[in-house]
Amino acid sequence: MSLLQKELSDVVMTPSGLRSKRLPVAVNLVIAVAAIVVAAALVLGLSIGGWPLVAVVAGILYLVGLFVAATRVEGRRSARNKIMQALIYAACILAVLPLASVVWTLISKGAGRLDGNFFGSSMNNIGARDPLGGAYHAIIGTLEQVGLATLMAVPLGVLGAIYLVEYGRGRFALTVRFFVDVMTGIPSIVAGLFILAFWVLIVSPWFNNGTPRFSGFAASLALTVLMLPTIVRSTEEMLRLVPGPLREGAYALGVPQWKTILKIVLPTALPGIVTGVMLAVARAAGETAPVLLVAGGAAAINFDPFAGNQSSLALFVYQQAGDASRYAPDRAWTAALTLVALVLILTIAAKLLARRNRLS
């Protein structure tokens, strides 16, 4: 007993003795305040910049000070840990800043023309000095083009996914799968050029007495090319989540495979598929470049997607941004706000739907 006590006499077995030393929060705060003061004195004293530079210099000084202090108290490894954590938090703040700026600008500038006239009139006969004019024609164009593209891309994409999950085996299926993934990375402008070369310049003259014709339908073809891989991928993921026993039960009852897929597998995966489709639609609605190349853009209302130039919301934003009229920026920002609202509503609805999905 005495031996034990003697041995332990110089080791204090209390919780504070076991824990390694920690840098107190107060020291942390002191370093931060000191960094800001020193940075302000340095930058403003030498007059080499404004407040943004103060923030940057203060941030660097804070990191250096923290590293030195933490190395003293906690050791080098722990200090490095602290610095990396601070950098990772800083990355988050840095990324949120532009997003906040975009949202703020959209709302503050976009509210300027948020009136009935904007949604009820087109740009037909709107001169440079005319403060009115709206995006009605562009909204019509967006809805028609995206609607047609969805009608084409959804059956094709869902069938393609069914092939990959239910039928595809071997090298060919792997190749298809690989190129679906590669196709998601095709730039939208290339899809636009493809439809320009294929549909507008080669196929459309057959229907139009030999002259090429821009049309909303051409734009929806380009959007189809862009939506297809997204839909195939998301549908494929959902179909793979359908439990095997469901299929086996159907087969055991003698249901043929095609009917099992249509009546059992697809309905089970439906909410997930709809989510994927909505995300693809949201992405397609924001595409500018393909519409610019193959639909041409128009100032007047054109309900017919198969004949004549059409505009779209995204293209409207781009064209108003390039317009010299002093009323154009207001129209551009309001159209941008409308577009973002449309896209975000679709995206958020899709995500909420995905949350209710029983499969994932």
């Binding site: 910049g49 975009v102 239910e166 297809l228 087969y251 500018t288 610019l292 995204a314």
Partner: protein
Amino acid sequence: MGDIPSRSATTPAGEPGVTGRHARPAGTGVSPNAPAGPSLGGGGALPTKKRFGMEAGFRGLSTAAGAMVLVIIVAIGFFLVSKAVPALQANTENFLTYKAWFPNDAEPNFGIAALAFGTVLSSVIALIVAVPIALGIALFLSHYAPKRLATPLGFVIDLLAAVPSVVFGLWGRDVFLNPVRDLSLWLNEYFSWIPIFGGDGPFGRSILLGSLVLSIMVLPIVTSLSREVFMQTPGMNEEAALALGATKWEMIRTAVVPYGKPGIIAAIMLGLGRALGETIALALTLGIVFNISFNLIENGGNSIAANIANTFGEANATGRGALIASGLVLFAITLVVNMAARAIIYRRREFRDSAA
């Protein structure tokens, strides 16, 4: 329901991938003495082999839909080449090394040297800015943030990916231009001895502005892919590192990052693919000058995609062919980058089903 016995009889039993096709041949299990006449649809009927039944039709239809993807990719290459060749033949300069772009002249002369340079330069700078921040956010979401914060923040990052590029372009031109111009002036005042920050102005609509806007746009894709990869690190590896006394950062450096390395590389390359093909944001923010210069802050810069959007309006037949030729180059570059990225992802089968 008369078509219940179907082509499933042709499927051999016991094939790999059982979940896909469970329709076994009924031959051995069912009575061989079934009536030989027309099938009554009952349980005793032997499956009859139909050549053009619904099963074969549906199978063919879905196979065709799958093959459609390959057809489209081949068709893109084919039609772009077919329209580009006449313009390239009319070109009086070397397409790959010439810097100016006058395809609508009587003697068309155009080349993509300056455009390709601008495309690569702006994309690379965008990635240099975006990748560290994106990896930081991904680590924050996967390892630092409490779950209550990580879920909504991840949601916001996904929303950021959905914002159309034209909106970022407009924001870059109307709002972001001013701080970037101030930054450019400051850099020029104190660091003009570094060539990339030299020049006499005007500043603002520069490669720097385009690249920064681009970096905000590729941030979400790199973040969400690498977060996906970081979250897949086996918990055992992390706990082993922590049990050996590693700090959190040492755990990330020794367990999380090496495990996710192929995924990170693939995410960066997919971000590169996105940046290379970005059109409208660059068309609105770059200064549109046809030259090759490493100066980042002077008005200037151009890219293949932005040039297509900017000059398409006044292009004649040769001009369109020339733009299509430049689009073909862009298609080839992005195809190579994307295929390389996907090949990396595919080598690690774990990521195949999650990395979208």
